[in-house]
């Protein structure tokens, strides 16, 4: 990872998961630096105790099922 793209803790203030939109593709899992997303066949579970609000997963989600609100 380049310096420019350092993981920033607390880049977002809130993380919302809109389950109806989720297509279980795993983009969010791929970019989560703390591995706090679990993806089964048709169930996604976020471990909000481990989430550092870095804002990576809302960027990666192709359908807007994860939304980061302003810090």
């Amino acid at each position: 990872m380049s310096k420019r793209e350092k993981v920033v803790k607390g880049a977002i203030g809130e993380l919302r998961f809109i389950s109806e939109l989720c297509d279980f593709c795993g983009c969010c899992v791929a970019v989560c630096p703390v591995d706090c997303i679990e993806l089964e066949e048709s169930r996604l579970t976020l471990d909000m105790n481990s989430c550092i609000y870095c804002g990576n997963c809302p960027k990666a989600c192709p359908v807007g099922a994860l939304v980061g609100d302003a810090a």
Binding site: C27, D35, C61
Partner: protein, 391 residues
């Protein structure tokens, strides 16, 4: 019946996993493959194009899983300039991946591997610093199953590598966030695949039209996850379809991710190897990853079988995997990564100018080799390299 222990457990039933299981079983190991979804091959998160070479030594081309051949390629520059390239030396295929993936699973099963679907691997069993098996969640039960070697072929969403302590997560700039639909009610040349570039069309990526017949195509878009600014892949694709296929029907839709990363430093550990998208094996430039996953799967499967036969599978024994992978494919992947960094940073203006030079070459002379010779002096090398890497 599921046993309590196997020589090799493969996590993930995509092409990488199936081929790993196949070659490990063929080499005499007892193998279990676990896939979280109900079906091998479904859903199809893929545009389904593969170069001819990708099947070599694996499957004979068969109409059962090949829709048709691809013999030409069209690049569409941001200003709409089209550059068509006829492929004469090497063709590609449009696969039916549902059937193709199942065919690979069938090969693995015939070689003696046991395959279980609807089996989610939720963690690894570790013992000091070595991997000893996996924890599995079935629809109505959980179980720990031991293995001497675990092969992580769990795709872009891989967690197996991280559980094993390998550094495998993707920075947003190294992940293409994709959305794809199957479009019906269109008219296309089925042997021609088209790629659309431009910062408005697909920032840090491209849009594709890969026909599955004269009136049907996989139409999708990949955008760099680092460059999404309020407009996600699905919205970009909606705009693209509105512009190019306003009357089409959407027969299926799917989201997905493609790694576009530099090779990981280490794709093995004591009792573990990673294969395919789980190991960033897809082409960082094109996102094509089927043949790469197959090739790596074969290597990992063969090494696993040999280590089992020799009675030792520690970190040092398996380091041959990272080493051989890097020797065969590492330099090329690093080259493609550098190319990606350049291509996807080009301004639309530079892209359009390069396209204008290329399009001035007569179509019949526009074989990849000729183009390269003719345009080296004009130096829009990037598009050429780009063209060459798609097959």
């Amino acid at each position: 019946m599921i046993r309590d222990s196997y020589d090799v457990i493969v996590v993930g039933g995509g092409p990488g996993g199936a081929v790993s299981a196949w070659f490990a079983a063929r080499g005499g190991a007892s193998v279990l493959l676990l896939e979280k979804d109900r079906d091998i091959g479904i859903p199809v998160r893929c545009a389904e194009a593969i170069g001819q070479g990708g099947l070599q030594g694996i499957l004979e081309p068969d109409p059962h899983f090949i829709a048709h051949e691809i013999n030409s390629l069209r690049f569409i520059a941001p200003d709409g300039t089209r550059i068509d390239i006829q492929q004469t030396d090497e063709v590609g295929y449009m696969l039916n991946r549902r059937i193709f993936d199942q065919e690979l699973g069938r090969k693995a099963a015939s070689a003696g591997a046991q395959i279980i679907t609807h089996a989610y691997v939720s963690g690894l069993i570790k013992n000091s610093d070595s991997i000893r098996g996996v924890k599995v969640r079935f629809p109505a039960a959980e179980k720990e199953i031991r293995a001497k070697i675990v092969i992580g072929a769990d795709g872009v969403e891989s967690r197996v590598g991280r559980w094993a302590g390998l550094r495998t997560f993707y920075a947003p700039k190294d992940l293409e966030s994709c959305y794809q639909v199957v479009l019906g009610g269109i008219t296309v040349d089925k042997n021609l695949i088209s790629l659309y570039f431009g910062n408005e069309v697909a920032p840090g990526g491209y849009a594709w039209v890969f026909p599955k017949g004269d009136d049907i195509a996989n139409v999708g878009i990949g955008v760099s996850a680092a460059m999404i600014d309020g407009i996600n892949a699905k919205k970009h694709l909606d705009q693209f379809i509105e512009r190019h296929f306003p009357k089409a029907s959407i027969l299926a839709c799917v989201s997905g991710g493609v790694p576009s990363a530099k090779p990981f430093k280490k794709i093995h550990g004591s009792g573990i190897m990673l294969v395919g998208d789980a190991a960033a094996h897809a082409s960082p430039l094109t996102g094509g990853g089927i043949s790469n996953a197959i090739a790596a799967g074969r290597l990992a499967g063969e090494i696993a079988a040999k280590c089992i036969a020799d009675g030792s599978w520690n970190e040092k024994d398996l380091s041959v995997y990272t080493r051989m992978w890097d020797k065969r494919w590492g330099d090329n992947q690093r080259r493609l990564y550098r190319l990606k960094e350049t291509v996807f940073k080009l301004s639309d203006d530079v892209f359009n100018k390069a396209a204008a030079v290329l399009v001035s070459i007569p179509t019949e002379e526009r074989s990849i080799k000729k183009i390269i010779a003719t345009t080296l002096k004009n130096n829009p090398k990037i598009l050429l390299e780009l063209a060459r890497t798609f097959f």
